[in-house]
């Protein structure tokens, strides 16, 4: 019986003018988003790889230099464009793509693509993820809203019930039939995406694609369940349509903005200027109640005592290298303190966003999708933290070379290619899928809760439908 209902529902949907119109719109938008994203990904990917190679060769070929001059020259880390960014660009447009790794200073990622976007960019950008998160649910709602309500109004629901069909069978049948129509719409996108991905990156990202596919099917099932549920309990098709449109608009456009704004109000982030002034003040004050000058003086005395000498010139090492090391130790602690506070403020904002996703499953899906696609805040942080770890090692290597291979006051000391090679270059390795999924606890819980809620309410609604007969 369920199969018969599903087949009838599927055929009816295929004949529905609204579905055909929506399908055409969907195909046009998807093709547009796909082509633009694929081209952009290809050019970004090549450009960043080329830039990384270029700055690496600049580093290697900088010639002979004082190691500390090389430290100020530094290196650059470019965030590579990950393959799934073409599907869900996540927060990448609003995060910098390159970090200057220089002496004494932890820099933010600079070169935010959003700074060069048109002023309408904040209005919305069409990506494949946006189509699946926002537009496909709308198509679903528009197809499913009259399922029960219109049949109730026309009296055909009572007839169906009188023929011995149970409410559960009818609900499930319609659910399966409509799901099949949506599957038909989505499968080509998934298929083409997989092909493109495998042809460009091999099988590395296949597990991510499988998970993304499962996530979006889950989300579509949720949205379809919700639409059928509302249709089953609404007194008229008009009421069902209005309620579903309000839920869609609130969940997609209003709630994410309110949640984001509430987060900012509850946990504001400092301006770049205020942050850099606070860091400068802390650097000048030093750590553990000891000024940098006092710390340097203390270390100097210790070195003099160790080597049993009375002046820097008599030391067998270069005191300047030690001083740079102390300055880095201090700046590392100060930068860690301020960057941790900044990240904590942003984390509190994200927590509020995650909590608000209880009211909108789309927000939860958005967070999980970004994590799986490697375009979330977490991935940006992994890139930045990795670059910072490398910067510290790089500075240590250069300071050690200066300290151990020259004498205090020896301004003529130069290092060359061997040291630059030893220092190496930063290579970003994307984290494993498991680590990304581990950050999805809250949004996945929200999706599970929504599934149970819709399932339970659908069961109740289906039983009520049974009573009509």
């Amino acid at each position: 019986m369920i199969i018969a209902i599903a087949t009838k529902e599927f055929r009816q949907t295929m004949r529905d003018g609204r579905f055909r119109l929506a399908a055409v719109l969907f195909i046009i938008l998807t093709a547009m988003a796909f082509i633009t994203a694929a081209l952009r990904y290809q050019s970004l990917s090549l450009e960043r790889a080329r830039a990384q190679k270029e700055v690496a060769s600049q580093w290697m070929e900088q010639g002979e230099k004082n190691p500390h001059s090389a430290a100020h020259y530094g290196q650059y880390a470019f965030r590579p464009a990950l393959p799934l960014a073409f599907f869900d660009s996540g927060v990448q447009a609003f995060e910098g793509v390159s970090i200057w790794l220089e002496a004494h200073k932890r820099n933010y990622a600079a070169g935010r693509p959003a700074d060069d976007m048109s002023p309408l960019a904040r209005f919305g950008e069409i990506s494949l993820a946006y189509i699946l998160q926002v537009l496909v649910p709308l198509i679903l709602l528009l197809i499913a809203y009259p399922s029960f309500a219109a049949e109730r109004e026309s009296g055909t629901l009572r007839q169906a019930m009188a023929s011995g069909v149970t409410g559960g069978q009818l609900f499930l049948g319609k659910f399966v039939g409509l799901s099949a129509s949506v599957l038909l719409l989505m499968l080509p996108i998934i298929g083409i995406s997989c092909l493109v991905l495998v042809s460009t990156s091999g099988a590395t990202w296949l597990a991510h694609v499988v998970l993304l596919t499962a996530l979006y099917f889950w989300f579509m099932a949720l949205m379809l369940g919700l639409a059928l549920l509302v249709s089953a309990v609404a007194s008229t098709a008009r009421a069902a349509l209005l309620v579903l449109l309000v839920i869609w608009a609130l969940g997609n456009f209003v709630l994410p903005r309110i949640a984001a704004d509430m987060g900012r109000l509850a946990s504001p982030t400092p301006s770049a200027d205020a942050l850099s002034r606070a860091i400068e003040n802390d650097l000048a004050a030093g750590i553990d109640g000891e000024t940098p000058a006092a710390k340097i003086e203390k270390r100097r005395r210790q070195l003099h005592a160790l080597y049993k000498v009375s002046s820097d010139a008599e030391l067998p090492i270069n005191i300047q290298g030690v001083i740079f090391g102390i300055q880095d130790e201090i700046s590392d602690v100060v930068y860690d303190r301020h960057f941790s506070a900044l990240e904590a403020a942003i984390d509190r904002q994200v927590d509020i966003f995650e909590t608000a996703s209880i009211l909108s499953p789309r927000m939860a899906v958005m967070l999980v999708s970004q994590e799986i696609s490697g375009t979330s805040i977490g991935h940006q942080r992994q890139f930045a933290d990795g670059a910072e770890g490398f910067r510290r090692e790089l500075m240590k290597t250069l300071n050690h070379d200066l300290t151990l291979n020259s004498r205090s006051g020896d301004n003529a000391y130069r290092s060359g290619a061997a040291l630059w090679r030893e220092a190496g270059e930063y290579r970003f390795v994307p984290e494993r899928l498991g680590a990304s999924i581990a950050r999805c606890g809250a949004p996945l819980t929200v999706l599970v809760l929504w599934s149970f809620l819709i399932g339970a309410l659908a069961w109740v609604a289906a039983r009520r439908l049974g009573k009509i007969g």
Partner: protein
């Protein structure tokens, strides 16, 4: 039946539909919250700018006193320009910026300029939660552009078709009223109710911003109200036309929801896509690589002398020649800027070109047009920032020249010099000019609204004829 009676009975009906007063109160509360939220964002930015400016003033005063007392650092143009003093310069406050955040939370409105190259401070970005930036702002402009049309649709999608389905139109004609007149009264009541709540909400949200109540503020506020009400009228008129022609309430609602999706959600995104592809931005990644190359070239030229000071540690060199060090810094910075300035200009030019494309294409969607108008009125559409940026670059030249001239001529800074530091004058918003530039798009939107109303009227007249032919009044 008199017009007043129809108005009164319509108001009573709306009052009885319990959800309507709640929706209107909801709109008011949402607008107030949005105004409050925008106010906090802008206030934080202003407070930061004020704090930075006060701090710089105190530092300048202290340097002035030290210069008078003969302090070597305060009298050294190089040390002051490259190591001690940087000057925060801020964008002029626009009266109702908090109503439309636009680009304001993305583009910094304070730069800390120094004698170093413009690339050292123009690329500065405020650390932000990127998830918040992706989600967008819940500001009054969002409510007007996105939510107001939905309310107009909710209020009016069945204004004709619903009455026809319920048989009210026939009944009204039995009572001697024209269907057209009856519908128009209903339309006006609903439109005026929404327009009144929108106007009151905008005024309250504007009042929350605590602006200085000048003529400019009045112009901007008037522009806001006019734009919002005309945009609302456009959607109400479209709802009337669709409702007149639709076969059922659901069909009307579906078509209007589709129109909203196309004009408010998809069109701006498509325009954005086109603007981005027609005028693609120069590559920031390549800019970084070029900066790197420029730095290397500039540093190589002065490398030998910079190595004397471990690149930037003249403090570690006991017998240092301070002037020689800062002259090498000035040469290095000048070399880098020479290469970087034209590249940065490419980005500025690209932003201008993109603005031009959008200016042309904004007429494709009333949503885009209204968004542009509102952000332009609030000074957050990017153009105000571009003017500010140009002024900063010009001021930076004066600032750098002020110090470098003294450094090159070996003229120590005096206490009086600190009074002669180049000052920054931020470009101001011209409310009158804003209204003038908004008038053409507003008139176009108004004309479109009138056209839709005319179309609705014609359709209603034919409804009158059809219903009149079958009503008892018609048969008489």
């Amino acid at each position: 039946m008199r017009s007043v009676d129809i108005f009164y009975s319509e108001l009573t009906l709306l009052h009885r539909e319990q959800i309507i007063p709640w929706v209107l109160v909801g709109l008011l509360v949402a607008m107030v919250f949005a105004g409050f939220s925008g106010r906090i964002i802008i206030k934080e930015k202003r407070a930061g700018a004020l704090w930075a400016s006060d701090e710089a003033r105190v530092l300048i005063e202290s340097l002035k006193q030290q210069a008078a007392a003969g302090s070597e650092t305060a009298r050294s143009p190089g040390a002051v320009a490259y190591s001690v003093l940087s000057m925060p310069v801020s964008k002029a406050a626009t009266p109702l910026e908090g109503l439309a955040i636009g680009q304001a939370d993305l583009l910094p409105d304070t730069y800390r300029l120094s004698a170093r190259g413009v690339h050292t401070f123009l690329e500065q970005i405020d650390p932000e939660n990127s998830l918040r930036l992706v989600s967008g702002n819940f500001d009054v402009a969002f409510l007007v552009v996105w939510v107001l049309p939905l309310l107009a649709i909710g209020f009016l999608f069945d204004v004709v078709v619903g009455e026809r389905e319920r048989g009210v139109l026939s009944l009204a004609m039995v009572a001697g009223a024209s269907a057209g007149r009856f519908i128009w009264h209903k339309w006006w009541v609903r439109f005026l109710l929404l327009a009144a709540v929108t106007t009151v909400s905008i005024v309250i949200a504007a009042w929350i911003q605590e602006p200085a109540w000048t003529a400019t503020t009045a112009y901007v506020l008037a522009g806001w109200i006019l734009t919002s009400v005309i945009y609302l009228a456009l959607w109400c008129a479209l709802a009337l036309v669709v409702s007149t022609g639709a076969g059922s309430s659901e069909a009307a609602a579906t078509r209007l929801a589709g129109a909203w999706l196309v004009f408010v959600v998809l069109s701006p995104a498509v325009i954005n896509l086109i603007a981005g592809n027609v005028m693609p931005s120069p590559s920031r990644v390549e800019l970084t690589a070029t900066l790197r190359e420029a730095t290397e070239q500039a540093d190589k030229a002065v490398a030998a002398e910079r190595d004397r000071w471990f690149f930037d540690h003249p403090d570690l060199q006991g017998d240092m020649d301070r002037r020689a060090y800062y002259l090498s810094v000035a040469r290095s910075e000048a070399g880098i800027e020479k290469i970087m300035a034209p590249l940065l200009e490419e980005f500025v030019q690209n932003a201008r070109d993109q603005q031009d494309v959008i200016e042309l294409m904004k007429y494709l969607s009333p949503g885009t047009l209204t968004f542009r108008l509102l952000t332009s009125l609030s000074g957050s559409d990017g153009r105000q920032h571009a003017n500010f940026r140009d002024a900063v670059v010009a001021n930076h030249r004066d600032w750098r020249d002020f110090f470098v001239t003294r450094l090159e001529t070996d003229a120590p800074l005096t206490a009086e010099d600190y009074d002669r530091l180049p000052t920054f004058v931020a470009p101001q918003i011209d409310g009158h000019q804003l209204i003038l530039s908004s008038s053409v798009p507003l008139l176009l939107m108004l004309a479109l609204t009138c056209l839709l109303c005319l179309l609705g009227s014609r359709k209603l007249r034919s409804t009158d004829l059809i219903l009149g032919a079958y009503s008892p009044a018609g048969s008489r």
